[in-house]
Symmetry: C2
Subunit: 418 residues, 2 copies
């Protein structure tokens, strides 16, 4: 392993995707931003697009803009996301938050499978999904069966298969687990659900835009995902949902809002869900936040998921090699899978003083990772803009923080809001 | 009635709120915009605020902005809206769409009143509310009892009282009805619900920012409302919800998302709803759209609801006087209440050719009202920026369209999307 900065620079010089970094606002070139898995950077095109939406479309065209592109934005942008995740354009819609979309789809799946009363997930799943499932299980009088990870980092297909049975309506997992970055084998896991006659619902929040996938090819029934991480859609940008084409007319959202109504502006008194996926819309789309999603998705399509994944694997491998040489000797653990085929685009490094090390990196080292209890420092590598030099510097600076015990001046308690 | 343009100009010259029009982008001074009850104009301050949120907060501060004002925005902006509607700051939250918020609160109310199985509303209520109620009634096995308007324009407290009984969990109505503009007497209607032991849920979408109200003083349990109409929050801006302080800890959102969790970033596996109204949040707030809500609300607070209402009444009275003189003789009906105490801030005028007249006004006359089936042309007067000259011109031009039969060249069918 070459530990020189020259090697990192050589990797950047050799990067076929390097030019895409110029598509993003990099206001502070000294800042090493490793949190693109929480909030992606701002695309320059989005700045221009938002000015257009605000100043021309809202300011000048006013209500007329609804007929000039706003009404069809959830479907149009969904159709572009579909290309990133191996789905057909008419199978993806952008609307509401990931949590609200997850709620809609879990409800719909349970209503469609009334003779099966069990939902299966794992304890590595994102807390919001776990909370939503608890609420739905209580409301619909279902059982929520949680597969517990043995090592706290991963769950195997075999462990999942043991939990899924003839009474299982739905298996739902995060495609990439938020803490460890474990990447599930979409095909194998979807198949094991199908073998038991259960449906599969993937949460793609930590994989969309980072990992290529083939929802159609794996015959996945349902999926949701976030657009503000690797899709660079902006803070709290509306989320997407996917429903396999043949199921759309069989399923109903529990939230019968007017944007899901057939011929919405007839304003008939009786609810008749739209024939297409549009039935999963609820209220009026948040147009400013929604418009901001489109340029980021277009950039990923230009870069290409295959190339992005290849770079992501090279980058996480590079980070892990640096960890092995520089940080493992200092007691830092690798809390992500070692095999790149089982890993998304972030790497978690563990240390008993993780919370304070994270704090010192942010406050003194110009490095922004993020932290997840109990001891995970997550380094999110967004291959569309992260450089090898940044990875090199992040690891060097983390070594410095630990060697010099720079973290000791920070409190062991998390601040109220971070 | 003085029908001269000089009189309209004199009314504008005498308007103590006239200066507020300069706070809004008026890109085309020739355009008479009468659809502020569908999409309010763009405040100039919002242009500046959005540039700041996008270019500084997202672009430069990135993830750190969550701790620098984003996390508390739903509560902070809710607290400002509370001042417009007679509630306490901790009783109002901005989140999701009106439809999703309505869904949450109706669900919560029915769960809290398990021995009462009837929801009462009227057939003038906004379609999305009616659809949502149909879905909830089916899911929770409740009865949805709809009071039918006799004249298609209004429903009286007496008619409502007859429908509300000891089995009624909830009475829910639009405070200002979307089609006719009927303004319900909040105190009288809330009291009639309470006399039967039912709760009251007001949809304030067409009244917030147009009509002063006193939710606390009327002891209202629940309310929702839209921010993109009279609050000028932008297209599809996130909506608000209100829960009376003493009920907050007794109620649960059906959507158990992570933003409603106690100590959200502890990321505990078990859902424990936040002790405050925060429990009604679900997913990550759409920050760009949310940030755009704040400047519009601040402008209304500066203008003052009492003064805004006084001007609104003068303006709708003026419009109706012009209608009486110019349009009634041409067969145009007044589809809004004649008594200003029973009227919100929009006036509906009816004509058998309403759809085509609306179209001609937009295409040829530089006037933008909107249209609601079967025959209502709605003129939304937003007292914070609408002028008397605009009202005068709108009525004169509508007379011209009808007298010259300019509408005849337009199709009798509504275009697919408007």
């Amino acid at each position: 392993m070459d530990l020189s900065p020259e090697y990192a620079r050589a990797l950047d010089a050799d990067d076929e995707l390097a030019r895409f970094r110029d598509e993003f606002v990099v206001a502070d070139p000294e800042l090493i931003y490793m949190d693109g898995n929480s909030l992606g950077r701002l695309p320059k095109r989005t700045v221009a697009r938002l000015r257009e939406v605000v100043e021309q479309e809202w300011g000048q065209r006013l209500i007329r803009s609804w007929g000039e592109g706003w009404f069809t934005a959830p479907q149009r942008i969904g159709g572009k996301i579909a290309q990133l995740i191996g789905a057909r354009p008419e199978e993806v819609l952008v609307s509401d938050s990931t949590s609200v979309n997850f709620y809609k789809l879990v409800h719909a799946a349970l209503r469609a499978n009334p003779n099966r009363r069990v939902i299966v997930t794992d304890d590595l799943n994102f807390p919001s999904d776990l909370y939503l499932l608890q609420g739905i299980a209580q409301a619909l009088n279902c059982e929520l069966r949680i597969v517990h990870s043995k090592d706290g980092l991963t769950v195997s297909p075999e462990e999942l298969a043991q939990a899924v049975d003839a009474n299982t309506a739905l298996l739902t997992l995060s495609h990439v687990e938020f803490k460890s970055g474990q990447l599930h084998d979409m095909r194998a896991v979807t198949e094991l659900a199908h073998r038991a006659g259960a449906w599969m619902l993937w949460d793609l929040s930590h994989s969309a835009g980072a990992v290529p996938m083939a929802l159609n090819d794996c015959n996945v029934e349902l999926a949701v995902g976030c657009t503000y991480k690797y899709l660079n859609g902006g803070p709290g940008a509306p989320a997407f949902l996917y429903v396999r084409a043949d199921l759309q007319e069989k399923l109903r959202s529990p939230i019968w809002g007017w944007f899901g109504q057939s011929n919405q502006f007839e304003m008939e008194p009786k609810y008749r869900p739209a024939p297409s996926l549009t039935r999963f819309l609820a209220g009026t789309p948040t147009m400013l936040s929604l418009a901001a999603v489109e340029p980021g998705v277009e950039l990923l399509l230009e870069a290409g998921m295959k190339r992005l994944r290849a770079k992501s694997v090279r980058q996480t491998e590079y980070l892990i090699a640096l960890w092995e040489a520089l940080l493992q000797p200092l007691g830092v653990t690798l809390n992500s899978p070692r095999d790149p085929a089982q890993r998304g685009s972030h790497v978690s490094l563990g240390h008993p003083e993780g919370l304070r090390i994270d704090r010192a990196l942010i406050e003194e080292m110009h490095v922004i990772p993020d932290f997840r209890f109990p001891d995970n420092i997550r380094f999110g590598l967004a291959p569309i803009y992260t450089t090898y030099v940044e990875i090199y510097e992040a690891m060097m600076r983390m070594r410095h923080v630990i060697e010099e015990r720079l973290y000791e001046k920070y409190p062991t308690e998390r601040p109220a809001v971070t």
